[in-house]
Amino acid sequence: MSLFRGRRILAGAMTLVAAAAMTACGSKTTDEASATGVTADVSGDTVKVGLLNSLSGTMAISEVTVRDSIMLAVEEINAAGGVLGKKIQPVGEDGASDWPTFAEKAEKLISEDRVAAVFGCWTSASRKAVKPVFEKNKALLFYPVQYEGLEQSPYIFYTGATTNQQIVPGLDYLKSQGAKSVYLVGSDYVFPRTANKIIKAYATANGMAVLGEDYAPLGSTEFGTIVNKVKSSGADAVFNTLNGDSNVAFFKEYKPAGLTAASMPVVSVSIAEEEVKSIGTQYLEGQLTAWNYYQTTPGAANSKFVAAYKAKYGADKPTSDPMEAAYVGVHLWKAMVEKAGAFDVEKVRSASDGITFDAPEGLVTVDGKTQHIAKTARIGKIGADGLITEVWNSGKPVAPDPYLKTYPWASGLS
């Protein structure tokens, strides 16, 4: 066989691989809108809810744990008699770390399974992909992860932190520790890019220098150059908005480069207990995180949550902020439905304002206007045992401000 023949065929093969990759990214058009929305099927003695998380792909490391804690909340509610006398029947779908798949599965859960609410999504890209699906069908999504703010869909409840409950306190903490310059590292998609825009506005207003800004494609595992740039910048701290497995590769590059938590601390906003476990504490000890909940957060509600989770999934399984927010989301939905006396989406929405829940992170209150929740901001330090201990908290729940209207420096952002 001639060498050149083999080459031509190889070229064909590479096109094939590339084409396969492209189809995975191609968007799938959803069916035409029904103006009235799809009503949930609550005729039987059960009520269906949708669980939409990535069980495969680069985000699975994080999203599987969220699925587990949603299931825990569902079981707890069912054991206590269900919602309005109906048992919850969960319908699970795999978003496969692929945003069009999320939109497709959301449509399926709403139109075919006719669920009363959907719990899930992690990356902002997946939330942005499903948002029009929920708005078109007038269906409810409970989104459990901290995000970049600047959004307020009437059909999404945001149970994770918005920027003024996580990123801004993180920056305040760095400033209070004397950091005069930061380097921004993030994954290349909507959350890190928007978050960094906010961080830059904050830095300008607070006399902090941003010495550099680098993005890696989601799933990227080659961080030699970025770490080299970070190191030579001599910044006081790194603000890390990488998501998923890229964190593993980043920290496996960071420590061997001779950078430590003492010489150049990294504040991460997407590394919780589960990720700490899989990256390895040998790379992370002493680094900082910004969240609203840690497994070590004191309180009876948290002891109960941690014990129940470990009993169900294993003693070695940690609990984390997004898991807690997802768990809280299910309980808040139950409380809203019961206050409304119906599963009807509009009634649930108008009943939501002021609903409180004694969550593992402390008392949380739903703000009906923004559909976000008031939560306490907490900065933590990663310990050798893989747990995160709090080094600072905001003292009281911070009211959500997704558009940062109460911060003068943020006026140019939205």
Binding site: V64, E222, T225, N228, V248, P256, I279
Partner: protein, 295 residues
């Protein structure tokens, strides 16, 4: 200066990774002309071997040392099985080989997902490899990168010597240069093919072990690497090891430089454009194997 040196070393270490993942392919694709799309999954097998060994061997350093030969044998054996069961029956049909091995690659990915779960897993690195060598002037060289560079160079050296000096190497070269003449001269070509495939696949296993020091281990890790590996072999010139070595380091330095001056995504574009331009100019690759064969 520090930055320049750091970037040069980053480029060389990216090159070392490229070299490690491409060197096995330089044997099976470069020497035997078999397009094995499952090569990336042999890398994955090597990485998971490290993970499995670490479950039973607690010392991170010891498990890494043990993983190197074990992963070589595991991936090599998988390669031989693939060769004996499928590829051998398709030697004259390259397009079928390509599709079949791609199918095998998908099956192996699913198998990994079923056995190890779809979330990626990690290994612990020995404490020594998380440190660095400090040079005068504030320069540092990360130990894990140094280890990978040494491993890549050792693999190339061992393979070159084996091909040049051993009877097996002579037989492999004879079969590559003229299969029919080798066969009539009394060389058992099918046995030589099997051995070549064992070596090429085993080297993929070694690459897998090395990659556990840099990033996560997952079912799709091989897919992400296979295109890079093929590029190195094609640009380097089929049938030659030295071409792959030079191209791996050149692409590594180009990637690192491009990334430093622009961003990671733009650097990838620069590298691909450079490759396309190069192949327009020299479609046969950097080096060509001259033979008197008619094929």
């Amino acid at each position: 200066m520090t930055v320049l040196f750091g970037q040069l070393f980053t480029g060389i270490s990216i090159g070392a990774v490229l070299l490690l993942i491409a060197i096995g392919l330089a044997l099976t694709f470069g020497q035997m002309n078999v397009i094995n799309m499952a090569h990336g999954e042999f890398i994955m097998a090597g990485a998971y071997t490290t993970y499995v060994l670490q479950q039973s061997i607690t010392g991170a350093g010891l498990s890494l040392v043990v993983a190197l030969p074990v992963a070589f044998v595991v991936a090599g054996t998988m390669g031989v099985l693939l060769e004996v069961l499928l590829i051998r029956r398709l030697y004259a049909r390259p397009l079928d080989t390509l599709l079949v091995t791609w199918g095998v690659s998908l099956m192996l990915q699913q198998l990994a997902r079923d056995v190890f779960g779809s979330p990626n897993v990690q290994t612990r690195a020995p404490e020594l490899l998380t440190g660095n060598v400090a040079l005068p002037g504030g320069l540092t060289i990360a130990n894990n990168r140094l280890f990978i560079l040494a491993l890549a160079l050792a693999a190339v050296a061992a393979l070159t010597l084996a091909l040049r000096l051993t009877p097996l190497g002579r037989r492999i070269r004879a079969v590559v240069q003229n299969r029919d003449l080798a066969a009539v001269s009394g060389i058992a070509t099918s046995r030589v093919d099997r051995t070549t495939f064992f070596l090429g696949s085993g080297l993929a296993g070694l690459a897998g072990v090395a990659l556990t020091l840099l990033g996560p281990i997952g079912p799709t890790m091989g897919t992400n690497l296979i295109i890079d590996a093929f590029l190195v072999v094609v640009v380097g010139g089929i049938g030659q090891l030295k071409g792959s070595v030079i191209v791996a380091f050149a692409l590594g330095v180009l990637q690192a430089t491009g990334e430093y001056l622009t961003t990671l995504s733009v650097a990838k574009v620069i590298v691909f454009v450079a490759i396309v331009a190069f192949l327009q100019w020299r479609p046969q690759g950097l080096f060509t194997l001259r033979t008197r064969s008619l094929a």
